[in-house]
């Protein structure tokens, strides 16, 4: 069970990294008081699974969930 959760987490990390790779390198992402990051730095943080990396995963997964729940569809 623990192994399968780890495998799922790793799959999610890889998914997020692939999504980040689609971001142009001329962009910077400011995440509040944690600072400004290049795409390469964010990919590194996601790989390390640190606080910023987990935040990025949260943002990307929230987006995917929003698409699924139709948050962009007009009421």
């Amino acid at each position: 069970m623990v192994e399968s959760k780890d495998a799922l987490d790793e799959e999610i990390r890889q998914l997020v990294i692939e999504r980040l790779k689609a971001t142009p390198s001329d962009k910077k992402i400011s995440i509040g008081g944690d600072g400004d990051f290049t795409v390469e730095q964010l990919i590194d943080r996601v790989s390390k699974n640190d606080k910023i990396g987990r935040k990025v995963i949260d943002v990307q997964m929230s987006y995917l969930r929003a698409l699924k729940t139709g948050v962009l569809v007009d009421e």
């Binding site: 999504r19 689609a22 971001t23 142009p24 001329d26 962009k27 910077k28 992402i29 400011s30 995440i31 509040g32 008081g33 944690d34 400004d36 290049t38 935040k55 943002v59 990307q60 929230s62 987006y63 929003a66 948050v71 962009l72």
Partner: protein, 215 residues
């Protein structure tokens, strides 16, 4: 009626520099509508100046542009302007919009309990995407505009006489409009990468307190 509008905006790092310039558009709108604008910019965005102006002029609308955390908002050099259980009473009877991270989580709740009319802000990090080559010309940065135009619309809408609840709704609709624009096939693939961050900001923007408040 007190038609004073107080804004804090420092420019001590790249993100704050963006907020500083884009907040200038809100000031223009306020001046066009004959509001008395108290602009605590740069080093003037400090707790001493802020406290003094709040006590003396009692502005009805406050717009913070600064870093924050769940229990505080900051000004120049990330020094604290307002903190939970320290000085929220300064914001009594005010409509507040904090363009800063997380402050709606605890500070906003605490402000409402202590008499702030409405507190608009974010209950998690506010995330801004910008273009590296536009750092010296923030107002030309269309990527940043996708985030800061909808955000600033909160205050512009309040200045136009809308309620705090209506202003939140308008801002969220503008975020959504930008997302939809990017989702169309005409948008470049690289621009679409801003969408998750925009949805994040939209989903974490909240209005606490009286939704029917207006200035």
């Amino acid at each position: 009626m007190n038609n004073s509008f107080l804004i804090t905006r420092s420019r001590h790092d790249e993100a704050m520099n963006y907020l500083f310039y884009w907040a200038g558009k809100v000031i223009e709108e306020a001046e066009k509508r004959n509001f008395n604008v108290i602009d605590l910019n740069g080093e003037k965005a400090n707790v001493g100046d802020f406290t003094g102006r709040m006590k003396k002029i009692k502005p009805r609308l406050i717009f913070f542009n600064g870093h924050g955390d769940s229990g505080l908002v900051t000004g120049y050099d990330d020094k604290i302007l307002v903190k939970v259980n320290q000085n929220e009473e300064l914001l009594k009877n005010c409509i507040v919009y904090a363009l800063s991270c997380r402050s709606a989580e605890k500070l906003g709740e605490s402000c409402i309990k202590k008499g702030t009319t409405s507190y608009l802000g974010y209950n998690d990090d506010f995330i801004l995407v910008f273009e590296k080559d536009k750092i010296t010309r923030p107002l030309e940065d269309k990527t940043a505009g996708l985030f800061l135009d909808p955000s600033n619309l909160v205050v512009i809408s309040i200045l136009k006489g809308n309620t705090s609840g209506q202003s939140l709704k308008k801002s969220k609709e503008e975020f959504k409009r930008n997302v939809k624009k990017l989702l169309t096939s005409d948008s470049l693939q690289e621009d679409k990468s801003s969408i998750p961050w925009l949805i994040w900001d939209m989903n974490h923007q909240v209005c606490l307190g009286d939704q029917t408040a207006r200035i």
